[in-house]
Amino acid sequence: MTKNYDVIIIGGGHNALVCANILAKKNKKVLICEARDTCGGLATNDLSNFTPDFCSKVKSEIDNIAINHSSVSSIALSETGHHLKLTGKEAEDRKTLEQLAPEDVERYFKLQKKLSLFSKTLGSFMHSSPPRLLHKNFSDYFKLFKLGLNVRLMGRNNFNEFARMIGLNIADELEDNFKNTLLQGLISHDAVTGSNLGPRSPGSLINLLFRMANHNNSLFGGIQQAKGGVDAVIKSLEDNVVKRGVEIKTSSFVKRCIIENDQVKGIELGNGALIHADTVISSADPKSTYFCLLGTEHLDTDFKRRIKHHRSKGRVSKLQLTLNKVPEFKNLEPTELSQRLVISPSIDYIEENFNYSKFENLSPEPILEFSIPSLEDNSLCQDGQHIMNIQIQYAPFNVKGGWENKKTECIDNVLTILEKYAPGIKSCIVGQDFISPNDIEKNFNVTGGHWHHGEIQIDQLFMLRPIPGAAQYKTPVNGLYMCGAGTHPGGGMTGIPGKNAAHEVLKNI
């Protein structure tokens, strides 16, 4: 075995980098092994359009990252040209809504307030590892009690409403409140994006609350773009950990963990090299971690069953178009094209889409979220060109017929829709790059190609994430931890799983 480290982190995504940063600050000698030639994992400009800034609780624990985030507004496109633009700033939004959805104005702000309160409450659970039930551990009981108290402190009515909302679907809540279908469509989109839920599936509301908790507890206020894109954030995180003495090995695929007597001893790389450490943290998804890195001979049958049934099939594909000029969208200023544009005109539109995806079929009219970031940041492509990042939902993992056959059909569907809103856009295209969930699985080693390394649904959240019995960043094997998006509180570029995992590790070494 070669040189000794205190901690080896498998994978170099943002959670791994956050985790490494915190550990290195505590003088741990850390090695990061990343299979790809760059760090970042799923956090790359190729996949992510927008990213909220890290929350203060994460920021305060890692070294400062010098990135400018700018707020982005969300524009729901309408075929009639009456697009709905929401910024998260009350005065502006009020004006917009008074014009487009006068009946819904008051209810919108009421709902936003309510959801914001709930997402804040949820957010307060996010920053420590979830308690285990009945583990005769005082601190676990205390955590549960605190959690209950937090919810109760919202007041009797809110408590009741919160209890109701946990299992609610977003469509019901929106239909009870709003008349404007575009507004319903936009909020529903945010509630189901990245998930295997439709707006009428129970549980879609809690999905929205989770998203809001990561976006400044606001429906549309917390959506941000980083200068230089997500890549720049990663670069900055990477520079910081390197400064702290963390070693990063890229192009180093980790084949397996070495286990002796139920204790992790190090890792073996793809080329056969062995590296020793008594603590190994995997930022890979739960299935890869347990089935590939650890090996099932170290796990109990029930545990294996739970991992096997962990749902992690991605439903989002990505299309990047290179354009030779800025396309013209009906009733949109060119400057607005760098904002978050959403084509999701109604709840029924999404639900119909979802009907196709449930059984791995391709929807003829997918939901799109896109933007042209190069308008703001010309470093992203060649002079005179523009890139357009399009996120396609639902474009399921293992689509029936196989992606190799369905890719063209999917792109055609997307372009047909875009043509409706921006006639002539097809003629501007000079290049295209399509990434299906299967590509994500292959290229990024994420089983199922799921953004969040696993569905955000009640049975896979909190003390059940990724699976019950291993939701505290620890695995059953001593010294092996997890810090990826598959752990509590889940995906999104928040760094919270990485941060929480680092604390859990520090508690034990």
Partner: protein
């Protein structure tokens, strides 16, 4: 398409033509989806055959699984709590296996056919549990329950019967060893194993040979007091031998509705089969280690020697006639030992540290009137009956 128009609820064993002819009482028993004989003539005579001559019992309903592949041995060693890393070809091991909480799923026997091929025999359906446990091992597991006909041939004259039948040099076979034979042109695997606590063998063959095998055996044992044995007599001999039985002395985790009913190996007297120092991991190891280290074992399975001669079926056990401390899981007036014996599950420290002042409350029927008896009892080893001939090599011949 294979529609079963008869829709008989239970399957017939390949010996059914023979067993049904031999069964004079028409008394049947449901066993794992099969119908088998409960009693052929009288239970006592069948019992005596095991202790005096040879008894033959249809074992076909036992669940049987074949485990094949390069990692088969590694898997078996991971699957059961016992350390089988040195298991030799043609040997058999008694094993138990647990779930992740360290509670017993079932007990059974593992046959090592060769280092890449094993057979598991047990009382509870195990296909899905085996398959899910084998996830990641890349081995082949198949349910061969209906593909193997099995007979248990037990008793002091059993070796002689089988030698007459054609099993040459069988007396040299040691306990927990097995050997392949070709008899009358068909293959039979004979293992020196059993559930009776006596000298005995189990025979495994293809169902198409079943009737031939039965006939030849009966012919071979004609002068050696051979007799078919039903399920009732089996219950008697196994209690005398102190063997535990799933669904009687403990509930499999696969069947327990209430989690509190699940038992760890230490609670059913199977601690000796848990090898915590086994080098590799096995299912439930972490939980069992914790249980052992923290001393959290709640129950104990013991043998009881009860005063009087009234069997204590389902009796409640008391300490000082006051505190309820456990229950009798199986009981018998032993005809051979002339002792009133029972297997009982007690709440520790009763049975482990406190062994005095233990009573059972027996309700004994006497012509429709129940008499309540407070009987004192002694806590003893569960193995009540263990004759020397059981393990002798070469085996006793007649």
């Amino acid at each position: 398409m294979n529609k079963d128009l008869t829709q008989a609820a239970l399957k017939f064993s390949p010996f059914h033509n023979r067993t049904s002819r031999a069964c004079r009482t028409n008394s049947w028993y449901r066993w794992s989806g099969y119908t088998v004989v409960a009693e052929y003539s009288t239970t006592e005579l069948e019992y005596t055959a095991t202790r005096n001559g040879t008894s033959v019992m249809d074992l076909t309903p036992m669940y049987k699984y074949e485990i094949k592949g390069e990692r088969a041995k590694e898997f078996i060693n991971y699957f059961v709590t016992r350390d089988l890393s040195n298991m030799d070809n043609n040997t058999v091991a008694y094993v138990i296996w647990c779930n992740e909480e360290g509670k017993v799923v079932d007990d059974g026997t593992v046959f090592c056919l060769n280092q890449n091929e094993f057979k598991l025999c047990c009382a509870v359906k195990m296909q899905t549990w085996l398959k899910d446990s084998a996830d990641g091992f890349d081995i082949e597991i198949s349910d061969v329950t209906d593909d193997i006909a099995a007979l248990s041939v037990q008793g002091p004259t059993s070796c002689s019967v089988l030698k007459n039948y054609g099993a040459t040099d069988l007396e040299l076979l040691k306990p927990f060893e097995s050997k392949d034979f070709i008899i009358d042109g068909y293959n039979v695997l004979i293992s020196r194993t059993g559930f009776t606590g006596d000298l005995g063998y189990e025979l495994w063959t293809n169902p198409e040979n079943a009737e031939n095998m039965w006939d030849s055996l009966m012919e071979s044992g004609k002068h050696l007091k051979i007799r078919p044995m039903g399920m009732h007599a089996l219950e008697m001999v196994r209690i005398e031998a102190g063997f535990i039985q799933t669904s009687t002395d403990f509930v499999s985790t696969e069947h327990a509705l209430r989690p509190v009913r699940m038992r760890s190996p230490y609670e059913i007297g199977m601690g000796w089969l848990v090898h915590l120092n086994k080098e590799s991991y096995f299912i439930g190891k972490r939980a069992l280690k914790e249980e052992k280290e923290n001393g959290t074992t709640e129950r104990i399975l013991v043998g009881l020697d009860i005063e009087g001669d009234k069997p204590a079926h389902g009796a409640v056990i008391y300490n000082k006639k006051k505190e309820d401390v456990g229950i009798v899981t199986a009981a018998l007036w032993s005809p051979t030992l002339k002792r009133n014996i029972a297997i009982a599950s007690l709440m520790r420290p009763y049975g482990s540290k406190i062994k005095e002042d233990i009573f059972v409350e027996i309700y004994h029927p006497e012509e429709l009137e129940y008499k309540k008896i407070w009987a004192t009892c002694k806590i003893v080893k569960r193995q009540f009956y263990n004759p020397e001939r059981r393990n002798l090599v070469p085996a006793e011949l007649y």
